[in-house]
Amino acid sequence: MYSNAVWRKGLRKPNQPAVRPSGWQLFNHNRLARLGMWIFVCCTVLACLAPILPIPDPNATALVHRLAKPWLIQWFFGDMVQNPPVFEGWLGTDHLGRDLLSRVLWGTQISLLVGGSATLVAALIGSLLGLVAGFWGGRIDNLLMRGIDMLMAFPYILLALAIVAVLGAGLMNALFAIAIVNIPFFARNVRGVTLGVVRQPFVEAAQLVGKNRWQTLCTDVLPNVMPTIVITMATTLGWMILETAGLSFLGLGAQPPQADLGSMLGEGRKLLFTAPHVSIIPGLIIFILVMSINLIGDGIRDVLDPRLKSGVMGRPAAATNIRCNREADEFARPEVQGLIVNQLQTEFQLGHATYQAVNNVSLTLEAGECLGLVGESGSGKSVLALSIARLVPSPPGCIVHGQVWQDTQDLLSIPLAQLQHIRGNKVAYVFQDPATALHPMLTVGSQLVEAIRAHRPISYRQAWQQAVNWLERVQIPNPGQRVHSYPYQLSGGMRQRVVIAMALINQPKVLIADEPTTALDVTVQAQILKLLKQLQQDTKAALLFITHDFGVVTTLCERIAVMYAGQIVEMGYTTDVLNHPAHPYTHQLIKCIPKLGGEGALATIDGLPPAMNALPPGCHFAPRCPWAETRCKESTMTLKAISNSHWVRCCKPL
């Protein structure tokens, strides 16, 4: 429920889903929503029971007892001697001596009925218009939406007044007015969601299973739009009640003597100073009713559409939280030009579950060296890369152990300001998708200049010149012109070149490339790999290259580390690991890769990677390993050297 990106990228959901919590359970979990629910149920039940409760007729006048104060107020504040409390109904009476409690109950009933009906009418018509417009698109969409736009062009209350003026005053007409005024709201909301749903592949799939347009609309699109309709209804109901009250307050809704919360408020307004209770009580009831409905609406929204939940959209902290016991982690300060990661451990806290995305990873990266980090999705390789400069979103991410040494500094213990000076300067990143890594509204040149000037005090013109030079170094043809282009004007390969230029422009000591060529075509990938290799040799940066493709690693890296379930399971020179894989996982994984000239069925690895919140004891690969013994499932594995440059986390390496 936290950041979806994290959920998808770094973690794997449990293979066996637990019993699904029902919508009601989720709703009930939300205390405020439950409170709202109870208040609303109480109000509704009382309002419904109004005809059979022992209360006086709401329209019976008794001018003798007019403007009697509520019983409790009389009892507390009245002076017992001169004006002994007289019981004139629990909530007192209005200016005609009618019992307020009775009128409030009947009035609530009417307000709920009118508000509810108006919501239903508006939802039905509005959703239908929105669905049809969004699903069919084209002319129909244009026609319907321009109509809706015309409705929206008038201020809604004026429109409602105009409608009532045409139809005449009365509750029923107020209902229609409110419904009509709210149709655009539903139509626009539903159309927006429908447009998104219609573009999903499953709608095309529905076409291929032989459904016609209406069947697709009803069985595929509608169920996916329904949550929005329900949420909109739940959040609008309160608003509709307010609008009903508003029209009645103006004397256009309920007509006397009929009781309605709005008209009661209107009648009490004249006596606000002499008998405040006459207007305050219906006002309070409206407030309570609308508040409870809004709480319920928020609760329903959280259940049906968790992404909209307040708080989740909030930005993560500027750096990942660290929760280490510093004294216990004393580690000799090494003198390294490159990067040393020591016993790094990163976790995600989601609800009650702890996902160990990176588990005790240590690696060394010399200056000018290229280390390939290989693993399948969910193995924790991206989280490891992000942990190095504390870029894991926090919450839910948290580094619980380890150090990251870069040039005698532990990146995990220095203050944020210092860390920000290192990010993009000494430690730079290249991510998978160049389209999202670049700002779409700024030219390539200004983004490069920004990267330079964030770390070095040079003039704009000098920085611009450097940007052009760097575009030339990453082999972008015509750099003098390209520097003025926006990212969308460049092809994917060109964009990735720009991102690489941006990463290298400050001469970083460490470059971390997270699947930089995965989104590119093979021919472009070949160009980018060649470029990276050449630039890395020129700049002597240490390169941590993350990928899932063994072929790519071979072309680029001298050493390779294989990750599985958050741990490095094998590390060594690329030729050693590829030709003589010692860990069963590496061995199996290499056999899975289809090679040109291969024959017959491909080798596979049985089963799925373990859930990161329920890692199997002992070797994490043991449940899928054909060579596993009982001891593999019992003892914890450590990374052991099988030669002076080849390390394996296995008790019986191949």
Partner: protein, 348 residues
Amino acid sequence: MSIKHGELPLLETKQLWRTFADKHSIFRRQQQGLHVLQGIDLSINAGEVLGIVGESGCGKSTLARLLVGLDRPSQGVVYFNGLPILGNDSSSTHVLGITNKRNNIINKRNKKLLAKSIQYVFQDAVSALNPRKVVAMSLQEPMQYLLGMANKHFQPRLKQLIDQVKLPDEILQRYPHELSGGQAQRVGIARALAANPQILVLDEPVSALDVSVQAQVLNVLLELKQTHKLTYVFISHDLSVVERISQRVVVMYFGRVVEQGSVNDVFHQPCHPYTRLLLASIPKLNQSLAIEVAENSAELPDPFNPPIGCAFAPRCPRAKATCFQEKPALTAMPGEGHIAACHFPHLP
């Protein structure tokens, strides 16, 4: 798989064009059309796997969508078992890019026939399943809408389908978001098989999967082909996957077929320089990159301003003046059914 001469191909396309043109609008100047497919001729024999390779933007996905009826050709006809099933019947009378609706063969009856014979497997398996339906619901839809099966027959068939793609029965009660990528893709294949089609069009079915999972899905596909005598149109940008699964390969570049032939011919004696570039660009295990061919940094030509001559000429190391002026036609190369569109092909 050897096919007897004279036998009718199961699926055939003739001069298939797809042009994305701006609709006429009062407010907008009509722009030049975008020719995504430019005269594609293919024939797929029963029981064969035809691999289609090419880079992004070469039109291979558009072609796949045309074959299953998700999109309509601007010009050209698709024949299934010799019958025109999609496209414009009298294509010769048409001006390029303008579809005459009356001549469009596709109608409701044809659409169902098409869906029963040709099914499609999506690249993004998870979003191709309705998120509000459990797997069983998604799988029974083709039986219900295409085959008109009665509800009582669903259960055994569902079990059979899910067994065929090697998934456990409890998957049937899961929602798409509870599936892993590989499981979802196998559900997608099961759904495609539910209506007993003869042809599966697979659009990058394993590109989004990890290698170990990719191998599982490919094995399922290979096995299903044997047991069900299926015909595949397998679209991928990954040449090693295509080589493993197909008998014949079509290489596409910029909306055209540039080379076509048996896997053996195309992969071992590639004649078109683009095919050679593709093959050389694949990063191989235990082998440093053949960097010489990747030298040229030019990319796909501007689709709004298409080149007059060969579209690959700007990137081609062998390009001569002719290449920039004349479009090469597909001509026979050594090897059975091996054709390539190049003025100066690599010949053995």
